[in-house]
Structure formats: C-alpha cells, structure tokens
Amino acid sequence: MLKRLAGNCFWMGRYLERAENIARTLGVVERLAHAPEHHRDPGPLWTETLMMCSDENQFRELGHHPTAGSVLEWCFLDRANQSSVLNCLGAARDNARTARHLLTNDSWEALNGAWIEMQGWHDRVAVEAHGGWEDACAWATRQCLLVRGAFLELPRDQLPQVITMGQMIERLAFTATVLQMSPITRSGEIECWPGSPLQRRTEAALAAAGGIDTFGRGDRGGVCPAEVVNFLLGDPVSPRSLLVCSRAIVECIVGLTDGESVHHARSLPAARDLVDRVCAAYEGRVEIVAAMAGIVTSIFGLSGIIARDHFEPASAA
C-alpha cells in the first residue's frame, strides 16, 4: 500500500486506541471516585487521572483546577485538548477519510457514525442528556470496540497490519503508563482484603488497562496487586499485556515488509529490543516503575523509527 496511507492508517489505529483507553479510564475513575476514601479529597485521584490521560501542564496553563467535572470534561470533550476522546475520534476519522477507499463500508461508517454523533456533544449538558459521564464513556468505549470489530473484516493484507501496529503502540504506552503511575505497582502486596481501598485501586488499574474481563477468566486467584501487575506485564494470552502487544508489533513489522530487511532495517531491531525490555520487567530483572518509564520512552522512539522506515517517502531522504 502507499506509504503515506500506511502512515495515516497507523495513526488512525493509534488515535482510535487512545480514544478507547481514555474513555474507558474516565469511566473507571468516575466509579472509583464514589469510594469513601476519595470523598473527602478527590483531588489526587483526578490529578493522577489527568496525568495518565492528558497533558497536565496544558490543563493548568488554561486556568483549570483538577476536579471531577473539569478533568472529565477536559479529557472527554474539550477541543483544546488534543488527546480528548472527541479530538482523538476526530483525528482517527480524518486519517480514515484519506484511506476511505481501502476501508470496508462497515468500518468507515462505524467510525464516521461515532464521530458524527459526538459532534453534537459540546459540553457536559449534552453528556448529562446522554445519561451522565459513566454512560457517555461507556458509549465511546463501545463505539471504538465496534470500529475495531469492523476492522476484522478488512482483507488480510498490509492494511490491518499497520492499523494493528498503531493500536499496539498506543496500547503498550497506555498500559505501561498505568503500571508506572498506579500505586499498585509500588505496593508489592500479594494479597489485599476484599473491599479494601487497595483492592479497589487494583481493580481500577486492571479495568483502566482493559484487562478486567480477561483476568477474571483465567485461573489466577484473586485480584491483588502483584497478580495484576504480572498479568499486565506478561500474561501470554491477554491481548492487553505488554508482552503480547510488543510481540504483535514485531510480527506486524515482519508482515508489513514481507521479511525483506531493507525495508525494516531499523524498526525490527528496535521492536525486538522493546520485547526484551518487557521480558526483563516481567522476569523481575529490573525494577518495574523505572522500567515502565523507560518502556514508554522506547515506545515513542519506536513509533518514530517505524514512521521513518515504513511511511516516509524514500525520495525525501
């Protein structure tokens, strides 16, 4: 496929994944905020959410103060926030439009339809009319899932590979960020009491990373920090684990170039290096929080290398 369109589809995948991750996280935090430990001072919880989902500096520079309402609106609807769910869907849609002829009608209409509906959501009044923030976030998450489902019907050529690459890059970055920032990673607890604040935070981290249903289906025992961290790091069957995501990127690069090394001279070694870093964290060879910070930096570096190897015109070199 054309390099330019491959790049656009890569970014479509990234923006769609980002929209889904943020929408899901906002819904999770909105529920978590009802817990008694956050009633007196919900600020830290929303500040942490802000840092996970957005650019905190930009938020504050615009004069906002982190509260439930301000963070929800900023991360979900605000057009000044490049990474708001609304803007991410819009960016995904813009990229999809350039490759409209490559997508199936269903996948285009699913994405376009979601975007059209969100255009009518200007402020929290519209969200309230939709049933409130939790419902709105669930709706947005569901729309992204539907679009991803429609992508399964794309012909098995390079197109789904570039989309998947974008999704995996974004998913890796987000899950690593959750692990980096969540207090569960530092707790090291291998047990926690049912109904305790720690258990609630553990479930929330798992839910925000999109792994709560998959975790529950495995024979893993209860939701405790150490289990969840291990699950998100290296569970071999969870589509959300860092290990599965990083390996998927390697497969996509190989598939994209049909194995010809001239086309992936830099991206394949960089992707394999990322797999090694994840393995090192999973096997306990490195401290997790620091490892996650390094992995996030590596991921964005890898994204740039992939763009140069596969999407930028050789004639521009």
Binding site: R100, W108, N112
Partner: protein, 477 residues
C-alpha cells in the same frame, strides 16, 4: 413564503408529460403519510452523512463538509429519449476527441478553414505540451460529462461539454443506492435500467488506454487530497474500481516512467486518472508553485511512459467559444448530422453579435468563455439594472471573454419542496467513457435548481441532485 401542500397531479411538470412511470412514482409517494415521508427523508440525510457523501465548500460557514441536497423524487426518462441522449452524447464526444487529436496533430480542420486558426491556436487553453503527442486510441477525453437540457417536451440541447475533470458520477451512483434503500417499493414495480456498472466501464476504458507494453496496467486516481471539494468522489471511485488513490507527493518520475512509493518499494504506474486541473498537474510544465502535482509527469506522458486521463490540453475543446463549433466538428470528422442541438449562442468577440448582446442583456444569459460551476454568469431576467451595467463594462473591457445565450424554457421535474411537490428546473449530465470503444452507463446525474424559478443547478450555488431513471417505454400506469 412556502409553497402550499398540493395534491400532486401528473403531469405537473413538462418532464413528466407522457411518462406513465411518473404516475406510479407519485401514487406510491402519495400513499406515504407525512410522518412516514419525513422519517424516510430524515433517514436519507443520515445515510449520506454516515457514508460521508459530502462535498467541501471553501470558506463556507458551518464547517467544510456539506451534503448535496438530494430530492427523493426521481427524474424519469423514457428509453426512447435516453437512446437519443446517449447516441447524441457519444457522437459529440467522438467528434471532440477527433478534434483534440487533430488540433494537436496535423490540424486538418484548421487547414480546411472550418475553424479559424486563431480561434484554436490563440486560445489560452491551447496547450503546447500536448502538441505532437499521439495517444492510445486517439483518446484525449476519456471521461466526458455532456450537460444537456430538454426544452419543451421533445427538444434536447447541449448546454456545455466538460472534457477536463468532469465530476458528479459518484452522486449518480450513490443517489441510486440511497433511493433503493429508502423507497424500495418504487423499484419493485418500475424496472429501471441499472447504472452500477459504471466503475467497471471506466476501469476498462482506462486500461484500454494504457501505454504499449503495459500488460496488466496499474491504474491510479490522482487527487489533490482530502480537502478538495470532490474528494468523496475520488475516494469512492478508487474504492469501487479497486485502484490506488494517490496524491502528487506519492508519485515520482524516474527512468521515463512514473512510480509510486509503497511499503514494499516502488511500483510503476501506467494510467493516471487525474482529478487535478492542468495548471497544478506538473510544476515543471505548468504552475511552478503547484504542490499538488508531479514534477516531470507531462514529459513522461508525452513520451508514452504513462497515460494521463483526461489528457492535458482538453480545455481548448470544452470552453464556450469552441462549443459553437461542435456541430461543424461532427460533420467534418464523422460526416454525420448532429443528433443533439447546440443552444443558439452569440459571441461577444463578433462586433455584430456583441452589439445584440449588449442591447438585450436583460433577456440573455451571459457567461465567461472559460468559466465553470455557474460562477461569473449574468442571468439577464433575474438581474438588476446595476448588475447588468457592471456586466456590460466587463464585456466591453474584454469581449472575447464572453458568450451569451437566450434563456431557455428548461424543462422542470416534480420536486419535493419540504411542504409539497412543485416543478423545478433540471439539467442532465450523462458520462461518456472512451477507451477502445465509447460507452455511456444508462443513467446520468440530474441536477435540480431547488429555488423556485431558479435556473442555476450547480451544487456550489444551492442546487441539488436527483436519481435519474431510464425506464422502458410502454411501462404500465
């Protein structure tokens, strides 16, 4: 003031006269309750929006993507009438392609004195880059849009020929799908000739015109990009024809060929269906500041390394001054009499005709010779004295830039106004595809002037579209 709800009567527009299928259409629509009709019309809007069937209007308020208004009452044309339009359009395009090949070749028609040399060679759209180039099958205009109107009940006239980058065919195709979706009962009882195979016709014609030696030609559509007003159509046709949609920056010229940069290396391009105007096509040949084109493309095309469709230099054949000469071209190249008539046209370049035009501005439609899209015209009967005076000055300043035509009693078609059905003026644009053979899909784009009494059908100026049905003669009422 809105028009009163009316019980539709057929024929209540000249277009409907004598076509039994109209009665069926109106009867079926009449059986819908106002609520059901409103529900279906609203679902049309959703259909077009969800599919992204929009066009971009530069500088318009309310965002850049807009829906083209679509009227759910189809325009119905009898098989006999359509056959006339089809034969006439094909005839016209054959003559125009012969003209283009001739004037960029041996110039027989000029030598024979049929058309003054200065009129062609002095035309600012005559393109030196096209001189001396022999194209596959002699085709310069692979895709032509011939705008025709019916006047009265039987006479068809050509309003203009579009041989550069005629657009609108995607709306022809999607209008049919949309109407089938929301008014399926109409199609169960009235056999309408299908149009869905147009992309196949087009792809075959483009492949037919590939350079010699291209065994399995790679065809691409060259678009200015996602912000172009007609981008939906570019993407739509690329999807339907299963060809790549490229921008200028995706292509490079090397070794006498054109190549596109793919994720698996360079791939040769054989045929470029370009939707970029000549001026922006190649910064080495035309406008140096163009960022949309492909440097060196025109030279590769001249040497036969790639086919550009439509070819460069077609503008000389579709401007309004050359339009006057088309009947003579038909006689000269085809030795036939024109099937479709030209609208009587006055050339302001001719002193006598210019004098007539200036004395009758209030009765005429005056157009810029190189204009398009309905812009820059003066519709005499709808103009003010001040507007006519301003236009007079423009004509006097550069007479050769203008032609004038009498206002035609364009046929009208039953059209939904929102509160009832009323007649609205329409035109018709069949799309003629030329490759090894010349063909037309049995349908066309009907454009409708939505404002009462308006003659302007262009979408950029408030016009809409209709599905166009060609039905067999003798269909039962």
């Amino acid at each position: 003031m809105s028009e009163p709800e009316s019980r539709p009567q057929v024929p209540y527009a000249e277009d409907a006269a004598g076509i039994p299928a109209y009665r069926q259409v109106v009867d079926l629509l009449d059986r819908l309750s106002p609520e059901e009709r409103a529900r279906r019309v609203a679902s049309l809007d959703r259909y077009f929006r969800r599919k992204g069937i929009t066009f971009c209007v530069y500088g318009a308020e309310g965002g850049t993507e807009r829906l083209i208004p679509f009227d759910h009452i189809p325009r119905v044309i009898s098989g006999t009438e359509w056959d006339l339009v089809e034969r006439g359009s094909i005839q016209r395009v054959r003559a125009l392609n012969a003209f283009l090949a001739d004037i960029y070749g041996t110039r027989e028609i000029l030598r024979a004195g049929i058309i003054p040399e200065a009129e062609v060679l002095g035309n600012e759209l005559y393109c030196q880059a096209a001189v001396g180039v022999t194209l596959p099958h002699g085709v310069h205009a692979h895709i032509s849009g011939i705008d025709v109107v019916r006047v009265g009940s039987t006479d068809w006239y050509v309003l203009e020929d579009n041989l550069r980058t005629p657009s609108g065919v995607s709306y022809m195709l999607e209008n049919r799908r949309a109407l089938q979706r929301i008014m399926p009962e109409l199609f169960r009882s009235i056999p309408v000739r299908p149009v869905d195979h147009y992309p196949d016709l087009l792809l075959q014609a483009l492949k037919d015109c590939a350079p010699a030696g291209a065994d399995d030609p790679e065809v691409v559509i060259l678009t200015p990009g996602a912000y172009n007003s007609a981008y939906f159509e570019h993407a739509y046709l690329a999807g339907r024809m299963q060809v790549k949609l490229v921008e200028g920056r995706d292509l490079i010229v090397a070794d006498g060929k054109v190549w596109m940069e793919t994720t698996r290396g360079m791939r040769r391009v054989d045929v470029i269906y370009r939707r970029i105007d000549d001026d922006f096509l190649d910064p080495k040949a035309f406008r140096r500041d163009s960022l949309l084109g492909v440097p060196g493309l025109v030279e590769v095309a001249r040497r036969g390394g790639v086919t550009v469709a439509n070819a460069v230099g077609n503008g000389v054949a579709d401007d309004k001054a050359t339009y006057l000469r088309v009947p003579e071209m038909i006689r000269f190249y085809l030795d036939e009499e024109p099937i479709l008539k030209n609208v009587p046209t006055f050339r302001c370049s001719d002193p006598t005709e210019r004098s007539h035009v200036l004395d009758h501005l209030q009765d005429l439609v005056v157009k810029e010779v190189h204009g398009s899209g309905g812009y820059g015209m003066l519709v005499g009967p709808a103009s003010t004295a001040a507007e006519r005076e301003a236009y007079r000055q423009r004509i006097l300043a550069d007479p050769s830039d203008f032609i004038a035509q009498p206002t035609l009693a364009l046929s009208t078609c039953p059209t939904w106004t929102g509160t009832g059905i009323a007649p609205r003026h329409v035109d018709l644009r069949p799309y003629v595809v030329s490759g090894r053979t010349v063909g037309v899909a049995p349908g066309a784009l009907t454009r409708v002037a939505l404002r009462p009494g308006s003659l302007v059908v262009n979408s950029s100026q408030g016009g809409g579209t209709k599905d166009t049905w060609v039905v067999e003669d003798g269909q039962p009422c």
